[in-house]
Amino acid sequence: MLLMNITKEIGGTVQDPKKSNLLTRILSALIMLPIAIYIILNGGLALVVLLNIISVLILYEWNGICEKKPFSLLFVFQALCASLMIWLQYVNSPYLIVTSYVSLSAVVVISLISRSNFRWALLGYLYAIIPTLSFLLILKNSGGVVILWVMIVIWSMDTGAYFAGKNIGGPKMAPKISPNKTWSGLIGGTITAVIFGGLYAYFQKGANIVLFENATILLLLSGFLAVVSQVGDLAESAIKRKFNVKDSGAIIPGHGGIMDRVDGVLFVAPAVVFIEYLLYV
């Protein structure tokens, strides 16, 4: 919750600038940032518990958006399956693959029984587990150092996009999906992400991270992932738009919901896993 919160804590006002007081956001970010960084770098049980909580909250909000009732048999079942998957992944269980097939089909069956749309039920389940499982894989292969890099890229993107969009403005990226996103924001955010992603990796030279070995690749990756994080952002906005919802929830007073905070990670986390495997082999 904490770590994702900060994603938009700093730059999240993109979607609802009137609601928030920028100063309070920056201050609370400064308090929570060290805690988030500690949990990520420590990379132990606390991070797994955090990821599990986030995935359950995502499902809760998802069902609130798509089913109009967050708490239901379907939600309980999705949450149990997601938690099971997360812990199986954490202990590197050989039963993970079988369980993923079984849980996917089970979610379909339960959604049909409870007369929900099985496509949305399935999509929500994937939304909850793909980023979390990806993070666990990154944790196993490269550790918290890389997860923090991913978060820094996303945070920088959001922050840079916010300030560039506000100060430069210009043509909108996708006015129908997300009226506040501008092309200047995308470019400004990407540049910010490249700078901070690169700086962070430079200061983590002591860690032998394959992703950080080549400066050119590292900077290109930071920029690429920053753009990918915006795709996740847009995808989440599109879903909310389709169901006519403004915030995904209200779990954090004045900040909207968890889904609004983690949308950037949605495609970035699996992308990093994919890139890591490409580079390892």
């Binding site: 954490y90 202990v91 590197n92 269980s93 050989p94 292969n141 550790g143 991270i209």
Partner: protein, 254 residues
């Protein structure tokens, strides 16, 4: 320890030493230690250390084949390693599975025979199947015999041998007075394998950790400060050099 400048020198010195005084170095056993510490030193998760360790195994097997060593035993997983956290055990088993699926063809092509010592009871069916397949497939290979000690503990091995012998005495197929070192050896996991001439342990630890207690009776020990993932062909050559400098007397007078 003599530091060899390059691999050619190392090989040459091995060749010349071999002709001088020693019976040829037939069997090297290695206690591969230090994956976790390597990962920590490089600020990486443990899994990265084990992965790097598996890469080192690949290289060393090749080197041994090149150096005409006939037997190489690697202490991969001890019967006490089950006490590690479950995620690490699963990781190690996962790596073993990958190794057994991906590398066997390569080993077979290089005329390397692979077999396993250790108890089979706690291993999963999947792994057992891969082990049997690998042993059968490479059974006729002659270049190098690679022995992986998996779920191996020397005390368990000795107890197991004692049980087998007791069973035989009980049902009358063996006389108590006929039990000697040779018969006993025939009931160990290593019954077809000569005793190790050289036992190497990496990472600076200096103990046997329940490895080949019986077979190590006259083995030479070399302890290297290098962590297993950093173990290279050069490290192996250094250890072999050290071995040839030792005077092996098997308890006899010089």
């Amino acid at each position: 320890m003599l530091l060899v400048k390059n691999e050619n020198d190392a090989q040459n010195s091995i060749e010349s030493d071999r002709n001088l005084k020693h019976d040829p170095l037939k069997h090297i056993a290695i206690i591969m230690d230090g994956n976790g510490r390597w990962a920590k030193a490089h600020r990486l998760p443990k899994f990265a250390g084990h992965k790097k360790g598996a890469d080192a195994v690949r290289a060393i097997v090749e080197t041994c084949a090149d150096l005409e060593i006939k037997y190489l035993t690697l202490y991969a997983f001890s019967s006490e390693n089950w006490n590690r956290p479950i995620e690490e055990v699963n990781d190690l088993m996962g790596l073993l599975k990958i190794y057994l699926t991906k590398e066997i063809d390569e080993l077979h092509k290089k005329n390397i025979r692979i077999s396993f010592i250790g108890s089979r009871d706690r291993l999963s069916k999947n792994i057992l199947k891969l082990i049997d397949g690998a042993e059968k497939k490479t059974a006729e290979n002659k270049k190098l015999h690679l022995i992986l000690a998996l779920n191996y503990g020397a005390q368990e091995e000795i107890v197991r041998a004692a049980k087998h012998l007791a069973q035989k005495v009980k049902n009358g197929s063996l006389d108590v007075d006929n039990i000697d070192e040779k018969t006993f050896s025939k009931h160990l996991y290593t019954k077809d394998i000569p005793e190790p001439d050289l036992i190497i342990r990496t990472s600076g630890e200096q103990r046997l950790s329940n490895f080949m207690l019986w077979q190590a009776a006259y083995s030479e020990f070399v302890f290297l400060d290098v962590l297993w993932p950093d173990f290279t062909k050069q490290s192996l050559c250094n250890a072999i050099d050290e071995y040839y400098k030792r005077d092996r007397r098997y308890g006899a007078r010089p």
